[in-house]
Symmetry: C3
Subunit: 212 residues, 3 copies
């Protein structure tokens, strides 16, 4: 595993997810402890689920630096959330970066533990989306999960791209870069240009099926 | 443990729970990725909780066939959910079969690991109901959990019947069959005939208590 | 670790949290199985999360006495919930005792396993609040989590007080007593006197910032 890229992606994913948690706490006009709670929940939630499912020690019990990252982000958001909000849709873009980073990291950790590709892809998706889902459910906000936009699909695409590239080229730096880019492009397209996938349409409305 | 009955019950439980996830995705008019998500969440959610609580490797990280079962079911539901819906209350009946299968499986896995009967019964209940609870919470649907019908009680009855039969007769095939039947009959009675248990009624309305 | 104080705090935390679960089931006019479910969920939920995160066997799979405690409490609440309700705000006060007990226990268990202080504090908070959060989310009740009152902060204060006292004095009895008292006083102040922390106020409304 490319330890430097991994470590940067890992801190990046935790920090940007933590920032989205702080933005939600700010929108809800919470106290500082709630800022810290949402930063921790969103920042380390996805990676925690990944490690529980992979049956390995949870990453922040091994290296508590991740907790301090969330703590620093919660202080920063307490003072600067209003400035970040002024950027325009910061929550969704930071969330997109977190999804892209974690879709690669989740898959990479599973593969490094010897799990097969199906498990690796699922770990990428679970760790990329679980923190944000927790954040939205507990904050009572509508989750991107059930909306008509590309969200889970971006995490799937990132994890599949990483895994497939690593399997075919063996170049983990290239794989991490391509996977991250793929997820970010798809999720970014959903945010900026309303990209979406076709929805389920029961065939009652099609003539061919009506005649069955 | 009767490895064949176990394996059949296991795939059966995963597949029917996955199918209920696909039905919910279809009702919500979701895209295919959401079908896959709901099939996975509901299909493997209960068994995943069971394995996390029992501190053993999660079953689908050991055997990824379960993931492919969910994938196949999600494709099938994408094309045929409307036909399954035409059967009449398919979601509740498939859910009932899943509950019956998992109430036995959860208890059996705990007992096979040397856990005591109280833990085994609880594992049966947790693994039988957690996937469906997750499905309903995330889909924003009212869960059967809090409604005036037999739901948790069927899982308890199945797990207790399995455990008690195995303890007294030592015949795990008989125990699995009786436990599965007990849970399915009780849950089926709730679906078809509105069976329910008496609710809590505070005794303010009883004369004897009023005189205290 | 002071094994006796620990064990008392542990049973106390499980029993009072279980009682709050029973009170919620009674308010929802549920059947007995739902009483048992809510007692178990609230009673052992926090400690279960703690043990999963710490990667140790879940406490009630090692010692099933905790399950029987919840079972006994569920029977007691089935018969006496109306009498407990007559005390006035019993749910919130019992919840406060549970939070105080678990904020110490969660931190103590993490420290006894060799985890560092940041992890220990987080374990105190997670195990003190998770059972109650689960109870409220599943019951569809507004959680204390997002309300303008001291809730998470009490758990943080209890865990930090315990950890800091133990680190400086080495006296675990003193640490447990001080931590428990600190959390109970803060949470009690929130219940009885509406104590709260300052909320996030974006500086758009401050002159100094407006001129930036």
């Amino acid at each position: 595993m490319p330890s430097e890229i991994w470590q940067y992606l890992d801190f990046l994913g935790v920090a940007v997810f933590a920032a989205t948690g702080g933005l939600v706490a700010a929108r809800l006009r919470q106290d500082f402890i709630a800022f810290l709670f949402f930063c921790l929940l969103t920042g380390i939630g996805g990676g925690t689920l990944r490690d529980l499912l992979l049956n390995v020690p949870v990453f922040w019990t091994v290296n508590e630096t991740y907790l301090y990252v969330c703590f620093v982000v919660s202080i920063a958001m307490w003072f600067f959330a209003h400035k970040v909000e002024a950027w325009g849709r910061p929550l969704r873009w930071l969330d997109a970066i977190g999804i892209a980073a974690y879709s690669v990291m989740g898959a990479a950790k599973a593969l490094s533990l010897g799990d097969n590709v199906a498990v690796a892809v699922l770990m990428g998706v679970a760790s990329a989306t679980f923190g944000g889902i927790l954040r939205d459910v507990i904050a009572g906000q509508p989750s991107a999960l059930l909306q008509r936009e590309i969200y889970l699909a971006a995490a799937f695409a990132g994890a599949i791209t990483y895994t497939a590239t690593l399997m075919t080229t063996g170049d983990s730096n290239l794989a991490a870069g391509l996977g991250f880019a793929m997820a970010l492009i798809l999720r970014g397209g959903a945010i900026a240009r309303d990209w979406y996938l076709p929805s389920y349409a029961p065939p009652e409305t099609k003539n061919a099926d009506k005649l069955d």
